[in-house]
């Protein structure tokens, strides 16, 4: 593994937080993509990345926040609010992405509507039936 040089830094309390967050984040990033590869049907696969990446990205972002706020030396020390915004956007959008992928899957590949449980009031699922 060939990576660019990086000066050594002392590991203080902030540092431990960064370190742990990075490890957790890295694990979950891997798990998400591994699940995407390993699971055997599309709906199951959808669970892996849309869940694991939230914590994966979250972990790394938390690491980054603590790193820039607590670990790095003065001229570089900032509070990277962008990271929070990234987390916010991802949490906001990930369910919609998943929702649309699921709907697309239902539309393109689900054998039939009858395989699904039906709403009791008979209105039907939006993907299949329109109100009008």
């Amino acid at each position: 593994m060939n990576l660019p040089e990086m000066p050594e830094m002392p590991v203080d309390a902030w540092g431990w937080v960064v370190l742990v967050s990075l490890l957790i984040g890295g694990c979950f990033v891997f798990v998400g993509s591994f699940g995407l590869l390993r699971l055997n049907n599309t709906m199951a696969r959808m669970h892996a990345p849309s869940k694991a990446t939230t914590v994966g990205v979250g972990g790394v972002l938390i690491a980054s926040i603590f790193y820039f706020y607590g670990v790095v030396d003065e001229p570089y020390r900032v509070f990277p609010a962008q990271d929070l915004l990234i987390v916010f956007f991802l949490f906001l959008t990930a369910p919609v992405s998943a929702h649309f992928m699921a709907k697309a899957y239902l539309h393109k590949h689900s054998p039939q509507e009858s395989d699904l449980p039906q709403p009791h009031n008979g209105s039907g699922w939006a993907t299949f039936k329109s109100r009008a």
Partner: protein, 961 residues
Amino acid sequence: MNIALIVLLPLLGSILPALMIRSGRNACMASAAVVNFLALALLLTHSPAVFFFKTTPKISWPWLDSIGLNIEFWVDGLGLMFATMILGIGLLILIYARSYLSAADPMGNFYCYLLIFQAAMVGIVLSDNVILLMMFWELTSLSSFLLIGFWSHLPAGRQGARMALAVTGGGGLALLAGVLLLANVADTYRISEILTRRDLIQNSEWFPTILVLILLGCFTKSAQFPFHFWLPRAMAAPTPVSAYLHSATMVKAGIFLLARLWPVLHNDGMWFYCVASIGLVTMLIGAIIALFQDDLKGLLAYSTISHLGLITMLLGFATPVAVAAAVFHIINHATFKAALFMNAGIVDHEAGTRDLKRLGGLMWLMPVTAIIALIATFSMAGLPPFNGYLSKEMMLEEASHTKWMGSKQIIPTLVTIAAVFSVAYSFRYFFGVFAGRVRHDYPHHPHDSPAGLWWPPTLLIILVIAIGLRPDIMAESLVKIVTASVIQDAAPDIHLKLWHGWTPAVTMSGIAVGGGLILWLLASWLRTIWDKLPRPDAKVIFDAVVHGLTRGCQLISDSLHNGSQQRYLFLIIASVIAFAGWNFASYPWAHGDRPLQPITTPLVVGWILVVGSTLLVVINYRNRLYALIALGVVGLFSSLGFVYVSGIDLALTQISVEVVTIILMLLTLFFLPKYSQPESMSWVRWRDAGLAIVAGLGMGGMSWLMMTRPWSMESIQSYFLANAKSGGGGTNVVNVILVDFRGFDTFGEITVLGCAGLAIFAILEGLARGKLRQRLQDWEPDVARTADRHPILMVVVTRVMLPMAILVGMFIFFRGHNLPGGGFIAALVVSVALIMQYMASGFGWTANQVRFKYHGLIGGGVLIAAATGIGAMVADRPFLTSWHDHWHPPKFWEIDFGDIEVASAMAFDLGVFLTVIGAVMLALAQYSKLGIIAVDAEVNASPMDCDPLNNQPPVNRNHKH
């Protein structure tokens, strides 16, 4: 100056008849005649100078001196004679044509063309500048094209005009080359000077080329064998045209030029063998064919060919006396031939046909016409005491002692044979038309024509007789003066008279008359033989040649431009590679020794992803959605690549553009097939792949060479880095370059984008309205569609995202001058936020909520950017000069707001921002409108499919125009 006027009068006056036709046909004719007459009168004012004072009036005006083209005219003997002929006979023709043309013919056009033609002819004979002469030469070809094709409804007229133009125009271009060469060798463009440089020219290595080129021009124009075929075809013209063009003018232009250049071109070698031989052959062939023509004008046409051959042959003999004979015959031929053409016209006009087989006995019905014909034909046959006899005797005399390849007999024999035929066809003309019994099956009821038709030829006949009887008075001095000017030397001592004693010529003449009589009597018997002989038909050959040429060209052009973009692009790309490769190979190069950047694992992984997804696109390009997804991955990792090589602005831009592009492509793909059919044959694919690999190697190799070498010269970059903050007021150097150092590029760039928006609007609006709208409505989506259009979840999330995304856009906009960002990226962020809204809540509803007009945004943006630049101009600085300063607002409740940077570049960036939003949104909104038309959907008036709150169904409206 009035020499030029001789030419200019008919040229400019040609507009008169075209205008005067509104005042009636007589006024039209009169205006043309007046113009012509004035020109003639002007010309004749110069004759005393030429005749009595032996001077040559000249004028010279500069025109385009750098190539020796100047307005230079002169009147020497030769020019005077020809000009007089052209203008004199022209006047007669004008008058004759008034009676000849019918009420249906557009007479204004006719006289207009005729005067242009006349001007061109006069121009040729009076030019003292070879290039000027060439201009008039080509103008005769053009105007004669119009005249011959005057009755354009006749296929023969069109064909004849095209053929004449093709032959004479083509010859003219050869002549142009010859004349330019000649002038080049002679080192002058002035004819009068060229004529004095015979040795220079004849000793030049270019002499044979010059001679051949010039002869090509002359021979085509004067219908010499083997270019004679166009002349009879040109007889489809109205008879006044034939009478004019083929007696005194157009065909004589070739003769004129032969005579004009005779002093420098003639010699006993090449000139003699080319000119005299061709003339002889032409004379013979023309005479033979003439005998078998049934059409009067056809007969006259071939006879003209024959006589032109005769004159050419005389000029080819290259002796002064022969020249004198030629000059004399030019005059004589003009008189009797013009009269004969007019005569044929009268016959045609009165009897309704020109076919010899349907004519005969007209002598009794049209005595005046018959007399004219009698004299003119006898002159043509070379019978005394008419003028044709005199010049023919001179010709026979010259021919009798001219050797050809050492043989004394060849020329006299052939010339005599030609003369025999000449007599025969002349007899055939006269006796065939006028002698015999009166017939009762003429198409019309012939009687002598109105005076307008017969007195012009009568005038000519008087000349025929007068010259024939008293050549010493009527012609001798003229012939001598003209001959002198042709040979540019003292004229030979000749005496024109009817009887020179018992010379060989008289014997030959006698044989000719006797033989001609016999031949005429045997004509109908010979005709049966003639008809059985295989003869090439000029029309068929010409048609075949032209058709073949056209087909050949179509074959070449069609196979070259076969409409295949694939091949065009292949050839173009291959040319690029070949040319660049050739240049690379021709110059020295060396490897660079710049230290390389390390390769790290994430880089390798990124490389694998980029290359891998590229391969996915290439392999699966026919599955378009798949390819598009993979293309998105390529774009993503390209952006990361930009980040890695320190191009953060690039990355931001690339990411935003990528999203908009994907949306655009998806909108496109809705309408297009989702899969491409396999198309190219496999060898084509391999060929393309080969080219692609070569291109890839070339481009990759080039970039490798560039990256690995240190700068050998200092780049302009350091100036930008050094001056960005101090001069441009920003720390983001890339942005300062964009909005300040090279703001003009950006100004152009946003105009490009704005223009793209407008063009897209125009293209799509044309699809949404008009003829295509129906086709769009008839189209059905080729995919199954879900029931919901605007899912609740998306709508809600967008409501939260939109303001926040706009804020991010603002943030990126404001920081752009100092940190990565700027108007363009900000605009794309805002646009994407709006697009998100469109995707969530649909076109109809969203369009109602967006409170600005995208056209206005585009225009306003460009105008704001321009206004920023113009602001500088108002301050007397160049366009787009930036201004920046710090502003320290006053303290407010002890709060220090710090320095606020104010830069005009910000206003410019605002222009960028607005234009980009306008363009992107205009394009996408316009596009999405199409989808609604295409599926005949209703425009939604509510933001989501169903609001669970009040459980209302969605409100839609029909989308109509």
